[in-house]
Symmetry: C2
Subunit: 229 residues, 2 copies
């Protein structure tokens, strides 16, 4: 049995949970609050970041990328792609969402509405919320473009790139910060492909436990668990 | 023949150059200034980041991690480690230097002394220089600890983790910002293991072209090219 040290509001923990579940690996969850710098957790991961995966043997693997690549290596699901070039495209888009999207969108929106409450109890700052919303537009235009050219984000098959992206979006969706139904000046939906893609992911059994998570004192948006949102 | 779009002051470009050279792959270099947002480069990589590797077939691979993992996959050098667990440790330490060290040290020190000049011509801010120097202490203590337990950073063999770390340090070393000879209150050298490790890397043929690079209007520290510094 694997043990995953995680936090339900942390997109990288969500990514690891989906990857474990997609591969049918059984695991128990231990909730961590790494921003409080607990010594026992720092002993496990000196970088102080979640997720950390403990193997049945007790060895620890630190960080979402090492953990997810490791799971992909020890299991038979080709979540990283089918050849070296496809894997480079999967990794490019993983980095896009894990780093670029996280920094430009998640840290602003979930940062203000969720993380800040957890970290220091602060109230959201509207300047940062505006910046996050604006940055999200560019990113959703990009997922629309990708999904008009491909069935899934990196290729014709479901991959780690879809998991990275969905993990970020799911945290923002909890607080109702994804403008799924935004239209252009003619009333045409702007993010239809992305919405359909997210609905397909939301219906996967690996995603179900995430939708059941509840953050303390923070009710999710009404459509959060709805598969036909 | 491969083509690498790079910049000599960019640690991630340096990482890709070392990996290509370690694997004996021939490549030509094209110098980019992505902070000027050149349309031709953005067409190659919508994230606007270097390095980008063009295959002989013309297909482009974007980002240091996809590029370096790709090179490791198509060549026989086991730079990522010998089994899944070792690869997780290599990737953990790559992320440590590519993300944590870059954000906490390189962006402050090389940021103020090199990148700022390139990006907007600004002069260094001593507050940020102090923060970078202070953060570097913690990181060098960690490399000392690792190198007292292992021959190389991730294991007993040279790996991508050593390349990630050396690429960051080499940029800082250019501007004389690595305190190689710092001693404690008893005059004992603090970073002896790290210095020996860096000297071993500096002597590798893959590192030689980096030591020959010169940044416009910025003379490197006197010991920068010296293998017995």
């Amino acid at each position: 049995m694997f043990t995953l040290h995680h936090h339900p509001a942390n997109p990288f923990s969500r990514k690891a949970r989906i990857v474990l579940a997609e591969n049918g690996l059984e695991f128990t969850l231990i909730e961590e609050e790494p921003w409080k710098r607990p010594p026992a957790f720092l002993a496990l991961n000196p970088a102080g970041e979640i997720p950390v995966l403990e193997e049945p043997s007790g060895r620890a693997l630190c960080g979402h990328r090492p953990v997810c690549e490791y799971i992909a290596e020890i299991t038979s699901r080709p979540l990283m792609g089918y050849d070296a070039f496809e894997r480079a495209e999967v990794r490019r888009l993983c980095d896009w969402f894990d780093e670029k999207f996280y920094k430009e969108v998640t840290l602003y929106l979930a940062g203000e509405k969720i993380f800040k409450r957890l970290w220091n109890g602060g109230a959201p700052d509207s300047t940062f919320l505006r910046a996050g919303k604006q940055n999200m537009t560019g990113h959703l235009n990009y997922t629309e473009w990708l999904l008009k050219h491909r069935k899934w984000l990196a290729s014709e098959t479901f991959s780690m790139a879809d998991i990275s992206a969905a993990a970020q979006l799911s945290v923002l969706d909890y607080v109702g910060e994804v403008p799924w139904d935004k239209t252009d000046e003619n009333g045409q939906p702007l993010y239809e492909e992305t919405k359909n893609w997210y609905a397909r992911i939301k219906s996967r059994p690996s995603f179900k436990p995430l939708l059941a998570d509840r953050l303390a004192n923070l009710v999710p948006a009404p459509h959060y668990t709805n598969l036909d949102f």
